[in-house]
């Protein structure tokens, strides 16, 4: 009996309580304009979450091959690596910014000119899909870090 109680308690403890539904919003989306000949760039935005945890699973764009990437510094060496997903904490925010986590845009179908916009489609685990319009800023925008 004692054992059974113990295991029941263990079982309960291992079950994560279903968290509150997420309340995700995306703002400040922008992408860096390309320079003649460039077919790649990066896009950034901030995800705010006023609810339970969520996960950003993918970013796509009709204008380019988009993928989530992290930039990390390893003894002065910049390393860029694909990210499978980004955890969005409950009641928290995630900022994608120059020199950090970003959406890498490769194989752009047209140059990105400052003043135009770029469509991004974000896919969240719990919040579903969101369309975001990123403003294209000049190549020298964002000194981040």
């Amino acid at each position: 009996m004692k054992h059974a109680l113990f295991f029941a308690a263990l079982l309960l403890a291992s079950c994560k309580p279903a968290s509150a539904p997420p309340a995700v919003s995306v703002d400040g989306a922008w992408a860096r304009a390309t320079v003649t000949g460039q077919t790649g760039s990066a896009a950034y935005f901030t995800i705010r979450n006023a609810g339970g945890e969520d996960k950003l699973l993918a970013v796509t764009s009709p204008a380019a091959d988009a993928s989530l990437h992290s930039t990390s510094m390893d003894n002065g060496v910049m390393r860029m690596r694909p990210l499978a997903s980004i955890e969005i904490p409950a009641n928290g925010s995630i900022e994608l910014k120059p020199g950090g986590t970003h959406v890498m845009l490769m194989g752009l179908k047209r140059p990105l000119a400052a003043g135009t916009t770029l469509e991004l489609d974000l896919k969240f685990e719990r919040s579903g899909e969101r369309k975001v319009t990123a403003e294209v800023r000049p190549a020298d925008a964002g000194t981040g870090m």
Binding site: R32, V35, T36, G37, Q38, T39, G40, S41, A42, D65, H69, T71, M73, N75, G76, V77, M78, R79, M80, P82, P98, G99, H102, M104, L105, M106, G107, P138, A139, D140, A141, G142, T143, G144, M145
Partner: protein, 198 residues
């Protein structure tokens, strides 16, 4: 006998201290190569190719301080961010003419003189873009302790991991300091000011 034993122990002590000093002073293997070299042994004269397709040598940089940054024009994040930041910091440290910003490609296969020229003009202030043959670039990377490595992105394309540390040289071409990619603006500006006046 007692004396002999004492001498042996003294010798052991000396050897232990020597080993300790050796390990404490020898460079740690994981440190960035840039931080291990001294100003006198660092860098060296080089000849690369300017955006006009003509040879560009270190002698053309003499008389004005300069900062050296290695990267590539297809770099989506770190390179434009660093170059935009250097332009901003240069304005804070003394203005667009205070020193030269030299951007050297670690991707000479894709970055020809034309690409370097166009790219370097995108930051609203003068930047000297340099490239060269893969052999020339390898030589310069070696001289300045710069690491770079191509990383395939899966679709036949590639990106390049590379040292993002900025190297600072005075008007005589002497290495004076580095700016780390994650360094705050204020210490970076202070270093640039010291470079300008040294």
């Amino acid at each position: 006998m007692r004396q002999a034993r004492l001498i042996i122990w003294a010798l052991v002590a000396v050897v232990l201290v020597a080993i300790g000093v050796f390990f404490l002073t020898s460079p740690k293997p994981h440190q960035a190569p840039v931080q291990m070299v001294t100003s006198t042994s660092f860098g060296g004269p080089f000849t690369l190719v300017g955006s006009d397709g003509k040879a560009f040598g270190t002698d053309q940089l003499k008389g004005k301080p300069y900062v050296l940054f290695f990267g590539f024009t297809h770099c989506p994040d770190t390179c434009p961010t660093t170059l935009a930041r250097l332009v901003k910091l240069r304005r804070e440290a003394g203005g667009d003419g205070a020193f030269d910003i030299v951007f050297v490609s670690v991707d000479p296969e894709r970055d020809g003189p034309k690409e370097m020229g166009t790219y370097s003009k995108a930051f609203g202030a003068p930047i000297i873009g340099l490239t060269g043959s893969p052999k020339q670039i390898d030589q310069v990377k070696k001289e300045f302790g710069i690491f770079s490595e191509k990383v395939p992105t899966g679709d036949g394309d590639y990106t390049v991991d590379h040292t993002a540390t900025v190297l600072l040289f005075d008007r005589d071409g002497k290495f004076v300091a580095t700016i780390a990619p994650d360094e705050q603006d204020q210490p970076a500006v202070d270093k640039l000011k010291r470079m300008i006046t040294s």
